[in-house]
Symmetry: D2
Subunit: 459 residues, 4 copies
């Protein structure tokens, strides 16, 4: 048998392909499904089964595309109404060579969530060796239960039952294959480790420290996780089956004049590093560095508008396209041929964003300089530790809460390391906050320098 983890960085999405004896199954495929075909081909296997552990909200699934390419059947929990695939329920079992994949209904994150127990029947037909837990149980955390407004307690209770009543009892020695790794927005605090067992999680997963159901529910309902607007669109796509993409979009390389003409009707997304954006950028462009596109593009892009890319190389353009398609953004007509260089030599003006380092920021605070220190991290992070005078507007809410940011003074954006601060700064610049700076290094640098730290909620 073989099992390979396919990681989609940015989304911290983990999908799996496993197979035996010429057949293979895929769990939670991403939309650009070519990689599963490549692995299956390398292993000499035909993909026959595709499982969705739940209706995903943060990325568009590749199930229908993979089914179209291979003839595989798609399976998901029968408690939700999908426009494609086959509903399965507790106890349904599937054979893939010497492997058996058996379905557990583990609701909580969503109502129809399933986990899939993996048996290696050559060794034991009774004891499972591993379980795919989707977004029910992660390494170091559990899934969100806040997707059904008004039913938060109910969903948290369902998740408790799924984990404590079904998953953990399967045995300490069972290996965990979850749907996300560290960095996912589908949980709060996943571990930076990709391997664990039910036993290790039972004892050391912070989210499982509440053995009593009511405590677990209390803790879950107290969570305040950000819900980006694009989740709703992805929900719909994943329930109806997303448009099939026979090939990835191939944006055209346009010269500055043509690019400028066309881009006015869409969003200019600059995927270069935050340092390069700081140095020079197209006025009005949104800065999301390439490795953050999967995480944050869905928060700010508009499904109704085309995306125009600024990148260093054609390879970066291709990667950005892949990341955007995973979020359902398929309309990417063009990129700036030759990158910033061609823009600069064309004589067009460009923008700049001053990067401030931690020492400078502290000196500004010490000197009592008049500026807004805008901390764009999540409220929980802000409460744990922030700089004096900082105000907190979560970066995801920034476009709707611009009125809270004074326009008459300098703004320095701030986050955990400078990455989110730059995205936020680009939004401010786009919205006319000309005197916007970003603190590179941000809280990480301040901690290393031993800057003064405060705790508690924003006033």
């Amino acid at each position: 048998m073989f099992l390979e983890i396919v990681r989609s960085s940015g989304l911290a999405h983990l999908s799996y392909i496993l197979g035996d004896a010429g057949k293979a199954a895929v769990v939670d495929p991403r939309r650009d499904h070519d990689i599963y075909l490549e692995i299956a081909a390398r292993e000499g296997c035909l993909i026959t089964h595709v499982f969705e552990t739940h209706r995903n909200e943060d990325y568009v699934v590749g199930s229908t595309g993979l089914a179209a390419a291979t003839g595989a059947e798609v399976y998901h929990g029968k408690q939700m109404d999908f426009a494609y695939g086959t509903g399965v329920t507790e106890g349904d079992s599937f054979e893939v060579g010497s492997l058996a994949l058996s379905v557990l209904h583990t609701p909580g994150h969503t109502e129809e969530s399933i986990s899939i127990a993996l048996y290696d029947r050559g060794f034991s037909a009774e004891e499972l060796v591993a379980v795919f837990t989707g977004d029910a149980l992660f390494i170091g955390d559990v899934g969100r239960t806040d997707f059904f407004p008004g039913r938060e307690e109910e969903m948290a209770g369902l998740l408790y039952d799924s984990i404590f009543g079904k998953l953990l009892p399967m045995g300490d020695s069972v290996i965990l294959f979850p749907g996300h790794g560290q960095g996912s927005i589908c949980g709060g605090n996943l571990a930076p480790r990709e391997f664990s067992t039910l036993g290790f999680e039972r004892r050391h997963n912070p989210a499982l420290r509440h053995a009593a159901k009511e405590d677990f529910i209390t803790a879950k309902t107290a969570e305040r996780l950000f819900m980006p607007g694009y989740f709703e669109r992805v929900h719909t796509l994943n329930q109806q089956g997303p448009p099939l993409l026979p090939a990835l979009p191939a944006p055209l390389p346009l010269d500055p004049a043509s690019f400028e003409d066309l881009a006015g009707g869409g969003t200019v997304l600059d995927v270069r590093s935050k340092e390069a954006f700081a140095g020079a950028h197209l006025p009005g462009s949104l800065s999301i560095a390439l490795d953050k596109v999967s995480s944050y593009a869905g928060w700010y892009l508009d499904y109704g508008k085309p995306v125009f890319l600024v990148a260093n190389t054609a390879g970066e353009v291709a990667a950005a396209v892949r990341y955007l398609v995973r979020l359902g953004f398929d309309d990417i007509p063009a990129y700036l041929a030759g990158g910033m260089f061609k823009w600069e030599v064309s004589g067009r003006p460009f923008g700049r964003m001053k990067a401030v380092h931690a020492e400078e920021l502290v000196a500004m605070l010490d000197a009592g300089e008049d500026f807004t220190l805008l901390d764009v991290r999540a409220p929980g992070e802000f409460e744990d530790a922030h700089l004096p005078t900082a105000v907190n507007v979560h970066m995801g809410e920034l476009p709707c809460r611009l009125e809270e940011v004074p326009r008459d003074a300098k703004v320095v954006t701030f986050c955990g390391s400078g990455e989110r601060a730059t995205i936020a700064a680009s939004i401010l610049l786009k919205n006319g906050y000309e005197n916007t700076q970003a603190c590179f290094g941000s809280m990480a640098a301040c901690s290393n320098l031993g800057c003064p730290i405060e705790t508690g909620v924003d006033r």
Copy 2:
């Protein structure tokens, strides 16, 4: 400016992409056009012009696909009725940055053939630096003029006028960029060299040694070049515009049982090496080693039947798919997962083909053994030199001339090196000639050994 030659091996097809200042032109693109997009992207150029030097017969063009991907305009000679693109004629000129591309009407190979003169206007707006000659003038040869039955003399005369009247007079120092290199079926005897000038060709191209038009025509009409049946289909596709392929076909990996079931309705094409085919192969399969697929698959495959592949690796399958698509074979549903190994361990019987080396063959001849020595080379090659007792059936005609090959005796196929002999042997095996062997090394080995050689036509 940049200019890059894109070679399609097997077809010995040469296409070109050149560009300047953000724009690029492509000459005679192949159907899997991704490579032009990649080069253009690397060069920061948008492809705006696609030229077809003539209606190609040996491969399916990528013009329409490339136009669909980029918005480029397609240009070809106006003397033929194409279902797409724009007709151009002598003197039409196009600018690509500092380059100028100027059309010459150079009929002969086809009626609407054009050549394209390239000017680097930064150096000279009057004197061209190079010319794309399509299938009019090659390095070491000229194009075929036998595509219009009954009009051979007329076409040869047109070609003479095109070459002697238009191309050569452009000047000795002009660099030649032809449509094919050595090994193409579109000419008889192309040089194994990719660079030349009109001057060098004028003096040393064997096909241009006849300065008198009537001698040139006599020589051309005396040529007997093979005309594979698939040319007609390719003609039609290229005139109407071939079906667009958003992505290359992705055949499925099937286990021996499923493969055997399905493959009965199509052709099993074995692209492994001739040695591997000799060692063990699927009974009834056609052997064309991967690097010969472009050259020969069109001769034997049926456009109405699906192709099923046997290869060593998934990478070889992907390459074979690419080669087949270039010939217009898009229906490739599956390949044998795990290759011959899986077939063997399934317990299914396999075929063998004995490979004979030159010493053995000579010994057989010396001993007066009773067998058919079947030389499958072109008649011209046979005439130049062949072994005693050899009979000549050109490999392309073999399927229609099987009755000329005795069924009651051993057959040893023979060619220039063993490659074509193996293809022919696989056809004989497929048709029930159980005692078929192929001479690996063939004429090359015999020459190196100093075997007895005869000349003249087959009796």
Copy 3:
């Protein structure tokens, strides 16, 4: 943190690189250590620790090379005298970012064998999450204990204590990272699965079914595993530290004449597929298909003689070089440029090996044909099931037991699938057994066909 498994196919060797916070550790690196540097670079880590779980016998370690490239320290069990590195013992512990690596002395396979417990201190400083077990405990098997002649019982007893006394008590939920996967010669019957836990192994590993020490010892000492001669050389290299290789050897492409001249003084190793070898091969060459080179080259090649390669492509040559270097064969002066094709067209004679399929073999047996059916599998495999009339000479012993193979009759070699049979057949051909054939498909095909099977030892 990150952890990546580096697989060396053929050897079924598993090595590991893991890291955190800019530092990385490697467990049991292979000799061509470039891959660890690449992974470390990708993860932004400096390799600071290299662990050898034991003195390996089946491959040459990359510890000293990796240490030279990075400045890392090498650690191994202190019970053996190494010419490099630092001896460690039970309880020694090392920090790599938030990870802790703690040494367990787990002898049995060798005296100085260690296991390495992995702690993720962000989650638990007391409970390990995984353990690197080297060749003590595999998934589905345990390590060999037959490396110290006369001390087999003692070593088996030590291994029992290591596993039952130290490893298993660490807890059911601990994940297992062993030194080998399925196919390794360092154990008998490893599982075709790469993930497991101590709990799952405790209950389902066939080698652990004997809870009583004496039964375990009895079972281990009854094993008859093959001990290739090259182990001794590898032992020495690994204890003294193998020669450093600043770069992999780069054999020269030679034409047939030069190749023939030089190769006389060494071994010609043909790494093409068994089918290609069957079709045509250099007389006197040893056939080991590329993916079997790591497994079997050490059994037949002579450390004192240069190796000359026959392959299909330069890429295959490079892979073969890599595999040979892993075994300590560094003297690889040349390969046949252009492969078999150039040999054939040079007019040189080539050999053939007839491949027999299972149906044919059964028909030969049914017809009472006079031939030697030479089953070259391990004695244990032979005992479990073999064809009637088969004689058993283990392929590893074949060069020394040729006198047991009659020279006057046809020989058909036989194994599990045809791969080992072909290696053996090439050895017979090399030694003058002209009428040697190999059964492709072998026992697997016979099983699928339902051929008559016998059990028991060879007469």
Copy 4:
């Protein structure tokens, strides 16, 4: 036969590998010679001949390395005393399969310069088809003749004789394969085109417009080309044979603290884009974007000091190493692991460089702002066109002419497009010019905007 051009970007260096019938020759190999081995292997050829058209000054040759790897013989002009290889002279001829390579002595650039005439004897043994001209004759220019102080006229005269007396008379139809393409420092004004003929050059090469020898000499001796200091070191290395590199240097990934510690003793080279450098950089680092390293690193780095790299990715580090080795900088101990991001989050301060666009610059000029507009282009470029108030210090001379740049006012560096301006700005910043800015777009942008332009030499 095959011929492939190997380009070393940055150096605009063109080397060539060509072969036939199992043998290959290389002309002017670069030091990282792996690519020639790969091409030769792909073509099934053994490299047997290496030609150096002259003692190169701008890059370290790979002849000795290639000879060590293949056993090839190295050939160069006999008029110079090399510590390796074989001296050849006019008329020496070498056969490579059906090709003949014949030596012409074509001094002028250096005394021992040779050109190599290429004959394809299958077509003509008398008329050459192409010529490798080294640094004698380029496309659009001729070689420098200023390497022998005091002998400029003599060398220019020699070059005239070589070109007008030997090369051009070989015939208009001969194809030119020169040693450099556009962008090389070995000529003044090479064409942006890679293919030409002696005929086209004779008529359109601006450097050949002087048919009279004295005019040619006058023009050549009037050239003022920059002579970077590293040429001398490269001269020595190339004459003595550079140190062999069994493998490229592999700098270690160091964390900010270790990097900072070590880098103090060397030069920190930042190969990120100029925009990224502008946004944030290590204080005191030298900015040369990756694709400019080959061109400019030799101008500023010190052979006696180690180089420490700042890059975005490990891939960029590897590319930078390759470029540095081509210039003879082999001591590259480390790079900053994790790049700028790790530096920033460590809390260390970073530098910034303000990028000014053309509109802003013009506005500053219009407003009569007090600042130094430092144009760092070559004097000839400056004379052709520069902005009002600009002062000219060639970037190569900047480190020695810092006293000409006032320290009390803002400096804006300026060049053709902003790339050289950034390198110069980084040198000013490194030297304490805190108020240094660079004009991105520079003259190209100004031209596109229609800014006021002046001509003539700097005051």
